[in-house]
Subunit: 148 residues, 4 copies
Amino acid sequence: MNDLTSTSFATPDGEFHWPVRVYIEDTDAGGIVFYANYLKFMERARTEFVRSLGLNLREGLRDNISYVVAHLDVRYIKSALLDDELTVSVSLAKQGRVYMQFDQKITNKKNELLVTGHVKVACVELCTGKPRPLPESLIAALNARRIA
Amino acid sequence: MNDLTSTSFATPDGEFHWPVRVYIEDTDAGGIVFYANYLKFMERARTEFVRSLGLNLREGLRDNISYVVAHLDVRYIKSALLDDELTVSVSLAKQGRVYMQFDQKITNKKNELLVTGHVKVACVELCTGKPRPLPESLIAALNARRIA
Amino acid sequence: MNDLTSTSFATPDGEFHWPVRVYIEDTDAGGIVFYANYLKFMERARTEFVRSLGLNLREGLRDNISYVVAHLDVRYIKSALLDDELTVSVSLAKQGRVYMQFDQKITNKKNELLVTGHVKVACVELCTGKPRPLPESLIAALNARRIA
Amino acid sequence: MNDLTSTSFATPDGEFHWPVRVYIEDTDAGGIVFYANYLKFMERARTEFVRSLGLNLREGLRDNISYVVAHLDVRYIKSALLDDELTVSVSLAKQGRVYMQFDQKITNKKNELLVTGHVKVACVELCTGKPRPLPESLIAALNARRIA
């Protein structure tokens, strides 16, 4: 019942989707979602994508592994509004030794495209912030997903 | 599938529950959820409680009706951590002519009590910020719920 | 010129004041500051109060010392609006072995009282979250301030 | 004393600078500023840039004029930390009929470059979200600044 993982789904082409509801906390005095808050939605979806692979961030932090966004390209096409039900997609566009490149989209219930994002995420050592290779477990899980 | 309303539930005593996942956006450099962010979780749960009654905030705004928190009493007992699955409860403790008093609790998966809150929410005119009576539709829905 | 500490001031009774500008990020679709965001303003003022004593939070974290809010009582009297210039006051109401009790007020340029808060902050070990005595350096600085 | 405008400055090449302190609210469990929060810092600086021209956002909203970010390109080079004193620069790279293109940089006290951003901001009607020409008063102020 109280199951936070039940609502995601993957399409045949391997895209991952995550639903997000717009709350008053997300909006601003212009009556729309504040532009920085879409980045929260996109990060939630990336986090759930990684969780769907059987990994979670907190264990990573315990092992001195963290992830930071290195580059961001976001196009805002149409604004989301209070109470909107959004779907945030995640698809792994590229995978390097130390980073992943994600393509993301945010759509509303009417299937209108609101936001597109290209997000480059680097793996770093938590303590130093220095880049480090993606953990083996993550690479294995990404490969397993690709084959499945 | 992509259904944002499927995960709430009500207990026999009429308490409403809403699940919340802790994301990196909610945490701070102390490694825990930032104290103001629990208020977001509590507001999400109140919003979903109202939505479960068949009402939503955006329509209210269109009718010049808004809600503001008038008083807040929050006790922080134990911190929530990244990736935690929380349950936020809402129960209507008191209902006046222009305000509602909610009792709220946040617990984690181990059923540990993390936060308790008493939140007084006043109904106001959106344009002026002046108090106004709770809308009839809300009162009717609250009464219907009490009887059911 | 680019001096972030120049704008605070203390009144004769020892109250500390910190100016805060309301930005679009702080507001919500109701056209006012979102209720949780006043807690950010209050924390900024407490942080600057502590900084004015010659201490800072990051060094504390390095020494395994952190601070968490244990209890919060906030009364919202009037809403702050976009572009408002607010003043947030801090006064130490009580000091225990492991906690400090702050009284805080938020006013606008017209000197209208918008928010009052009573905030109990506990000192904890960063690693465990367990309460620990306030650091000697903080107690000494608080005492020095009281005498001065 | 309690003057929120005293701390900005402009360099000879017309760049505008705004100081930002990093508070605990801005950080995340990775111990650094959360990636979306740099966008808040950049918006604060753009808002103050516009304010330095004698204009403010709230009056715009009253006249049914709002601004939305249409495109964002952000490079994250080095992380900001709790208590850091940052400087956010704003320079108007291009000005169209309905939009402005800003180049922004965030540096720390050691003058290390942390973040660069290219932000395209469109002027819209508040009610409809439809693009509309930049207001005359803004164009006049931008021109006056360029000549001065």
